[in-house]
Amino acid sequence: MEKTVKRRTRTQDVIRQLRKNKTAMFGMGMMLVIFILCAGAPLFAPHDPNDSDLYRGNRPGFWSSDHIPGFWLGTDYLGRDILSRILYGGRVTLSVGFVALGFALVMGVILGLVSGYFGGLADNLIMRFVDILFAFPALLLALVIAGTLAQRYPDVSRITWSMVAIGIVYTPQMARVMRGAVLVIKETEYIEAEHAIGSSTWRIIFKHVLPNSLAPIIVYSTLMLATAILDAAALGFLGVGAQAPSPEWGLSLSIARKYLISGVWWAATFPGIAILLSVLSLNLLGDGLRDALDPRLKGGAKL
């Protein structure tokens, strides 16, 4: 009898590859730190993010002799603590990014499954609709959707509408990635075997096609999450997302911009760095995940 060698499952293999990738692990670590700090903002923030005091407005942070003790990153024009506002603001910006991406992911998976598996008329309708959405620049489309919806339904929070807008804008890309994966899986012999057994269409789709075609879209989502967060901040910056006095990063940046000229660089720089670090960490993680899932890059192919 042949001796069976203990082999790794595919998931274990991916995790192993990912752990070998130092930049990806760094990205994941950074993302976790940011996530924990923002989620636990009430615990970590030294001040109330909306506690204003005009007497201490526009004061620099620890690098200057002029700083107020306890306000490490300085204060904004209303005298609010910038560090606390960044921690609280992350809750808004990151959750807009996450929820929007989740929305796009769910919609994309459903549309991609239907159009890839059934083909024909459904495929044509869905893909042409997707093409139309693709024809517009993403951010511009998100701006129009968020702006229009907020005008039409002023009772609903603008943050909700920016989530919906970003979600809609990202759906087409998700649907295309999913459709491509489904087209490949649909033609495999094990799916044909299911037809031969007599499995119902729903059973084939949910038990066999769906789990086998999720890998590419998961990787893609990690990369898109970074862009979604950036877009969330951009909508805030452009004024269709969160409204003052929300500490949302994009909005903070937008307001602080006016004081840059008078030398108050810290009020704009630190929210900017927060956006940068979140996007960077997710990009590093996404890149690593993509490499780990692609067996051709195993062992770290170098060019």
Partner: protein, 319 residues
């Protein structure tokens, strides 16, 4: 008793084509008729691309036939819908050629083998579990392997999993689509012997598709020889191997290696390539390569299957 009868079965595929260009028609299975008796193993042999696999899959209605009839135990199943086919799916199954592509990589072996039973709501959950272990042991796997994934197995072991899955619903009819072609010769023998034992035990009828005449010689009762979408000769195994009638069969048999080097035999080497099934030659499809061609009739008239002996039919103008 006849289990399955195929009458003038045709399966064409459209190749290429676009808005303004008419697609080419690939005649994968062109007017094929034969019967399979209950309990026998019928070998279907032919070169790569001659339509053997398409024929097998069309019989199971994995591909919809373009015309012709498939009669299963007297019922015409040719035009049954997907849901109407369900009750027949319990009675027939397929073993695939590729032991790597035919098992869902995200399911455990237990899941794969019990899948057909779940689909047809056979047995309770506990009974299914018992049945899975029983099947695994029958095909030479151990019950501890039930929670493993397909990639943890070797090719031969995976083929055993495929066989266990095919047997799970206790089918009357199995299409074995080159089940040993992807395996090493030593493993081939194991799997063939296993299939023979299982056939004796379960008594299923089998359409055994292969390109390997040694395999046919080992396992089949009757043999049908296919060439570019058509059956050219069909005969009981012994008769075919000792008394081949069609020139193509003769050529195929002469290519089978013989263990004893002292036996002298004439080797027939065919000239030219297998013609494309997109534009098959007129008349007899073999006429371009035939070494016994008798004249114009071969090029113009398509030969019909004619009876030349007991259960021995051949499609050639020589007879």
């Amino acid at each position: 008793m006849t289990l399955l009868e195929i009458q003038e079965l045709k399966k064409y595929f459209n190749i290429g084509g676009g808005l303004l260009k008419k697609p080419d028609i690939l005649k994968a299975v062109d007017n094929v008729s034969f019967k399979i008796e209950e309990g026998e193993i019928l070998g279907l042999v032919g070169e790569s691309g001659c339509g053997k696999t398409t024929c097998g899959k069309t019989i199971l209605k994995i591909y919809e036939p373009d015309s012709g009839k498939i009669i299963y135990r007297g019922d015409d199943i040719t035009n049954l819908s997907r849901s109407e086919m369900r009750k027949y799916r319990k009675k027939m199954s397929i073993i695939y050629q590729d032991p790597f592509g035919s098992l869902d990589p995200r399911m455990t072996i237990g899941g794969i083998i019990s899948e057909p039973m779940e689909v047809h709501n056979l047995y309770s959950k506990r009974e299914r579990e018992k049945k899975v272990i029983e099947l695994m042991e029958k095909v030479g796997l151990t019950s501890e392997q039930i929670n493993r994934y397909p990639h943890e197995f070797s090719g031969g072991q995976r083929q055993r999993i495929g066989i266990a899955r095919a047997l799970a619903v206790n089918p009357e009819f199995i299409v074995a689509d080159e089940p040993v072609s992807a395996l090493d010769v030593s493993i081939q023998a194991q799997i063939l012997n296993l299939m023979q034992d299982l056939q004796k035990e379960f008594g299923f009828t089998c359409l055994f598709i292969t390109h390997d005449l040694s395999v046919i010689k080992h396992i089949c009762d009757r043999v049908a020889v296919m060439y570019v979408g058509k059956i050219v000769e069909i005969a009981p195994k012994k008769e075919l191997f000792t008394n081949p009638k069609h020139p193509y069969t003769e050529a195929l048999l002469s290519a089978v290696p013989v263990p004893n080097p002292k036996i002298k035999r004439k080797e027939i080497i065919l000239e030219g390539d297998v013609p494309s099934p997109i534009n098959p030659p007129s008349g007899c499809r073999f006429h371009e390569r035939c070494f016994k061609k008798i004249g114009e009739v071969c090029e113009t008239k398509e030969p019909e299957l004619k009876k030349v002996g007991k259960g021995h039919y051949v499609a050639c103008h020589l007879y």
